[in-house]
Subunit: 166 residues, 2 copies
DNA sequence: ATTACTGCAAAGCATTTGCAAATGC
DNA sequence: GCATTTGCAAATGCTTTGCAGTAAT
């Protein structure tokens, strides 16, 4: 069972090996530029990231590395993931802001949000066309939508004006 | 300073009073239907919700009610907020799933997500038109986008098939 | 009189952090 | 050799929960 691997697994392994082989040098470049160190732990985390399916959560990954020969501590996993995000190798799906925000719904139809990175302000906007496209996408996937959430992160007009070009 | 209120404040107060006056009976209906009880604490939370600006977070609201004559405990605030969400008076902006999910970015362009309420599966989709509309909306608001996140919640084709009409 | 709701404080959970020891440069 | 990283465990911050007392039906 363990010695015999089917073709699919072999291909997957090959794929992973290739991604790591390509990404690791890029990560090294990133670290060097940042004057950060190229460490064993960082390579292990990067490898583990690429060994996982498309979507994973930090804690699962940390759990996988909690024991065994490639042991990396939880703290380091989180720290490295943050680095990898900065380097552009991973993307966080639910963004970092920990606490949930609420808004009134009473006489307040659905709309989308922009959140300013600098001041945290919420800007509301609406676009029926976006909703139409979402609905179409759901039809294409035979997905039955219940609701959706669209948030654009960036800089609001006030903050981008305040911070003049360096 | 305290006795003299300007016009804007007066109008705002009026607005709030009206919303509460309209929403409270609806919440009562909701509670009755659910065979839940109509309590003082629930009215206080509802009032507080409508007294706040469009966006607020649970904890701030709880803090506001932690002391004073309209004292409601943190636990009750969270419980009532959940009820109000169920009743459709408020909407949560960052959804409930606590832990952040990551995904590879390496050779994996930006795309949107559908998440199945039932099985938790992530479905990826892409729609350049949606992105165009987002960009247009940002231009309209003079908002400088850095990135965005679009998640559609609902039921995937597998799960909606599995659960035949009752 | 029942039974649900509330307050409180304690538990939970994902994530972050402080610090001594280890490692890369 | 010196500075950065790591591991560990403790701290954090938001949210949930258990339970005994309180209030609504």
């Amino acid at each position: 069972m363990k010695t015999i691997k089917n073709l699919k697994d072999k291909l997957l392994e090959e794929e992973i090996r290739k991604s790591v082989e390509e990404a690791w040098p890029l990560f090294i470049d990133f670290l060097k530029e940042k004057k950060a160190r190229v460490t064993q732990a960082r390579k292990i985390v990067l490898t583990q990231v690429f060994s996982r399916h498309d979507h994973f959560c930090a804690d699962d990954l940390a759990a996988a590395l909690a024991t065994g020969p490639n042991h990396v501590s939880r703290g380091t996993v989180y720290r490295t993931l943050a680095l990898m995000e900065e380097a552009g190798f991973v993307r966080v799906i639910r963004d970092t802001d920990v606490h949930a925000h609420y808004e009134h719904t009473y006489k307040h139809p659905h709309h989308e949000h922009m959140v300013c990175d600098a001041c945290g302000d919420f800007i509301e906007f609406e676009d029926p066309k976006i909703i139409q496209h979402i609905e179409q996408a759901c039809r294409d996937e035979a997905f039955i939508p219940r609701t959706h959430r669209l948030v654009v992160f960036g800089k609001c007009s006030k903050c981008s004006k305040a911070q003049k070009p360096a």
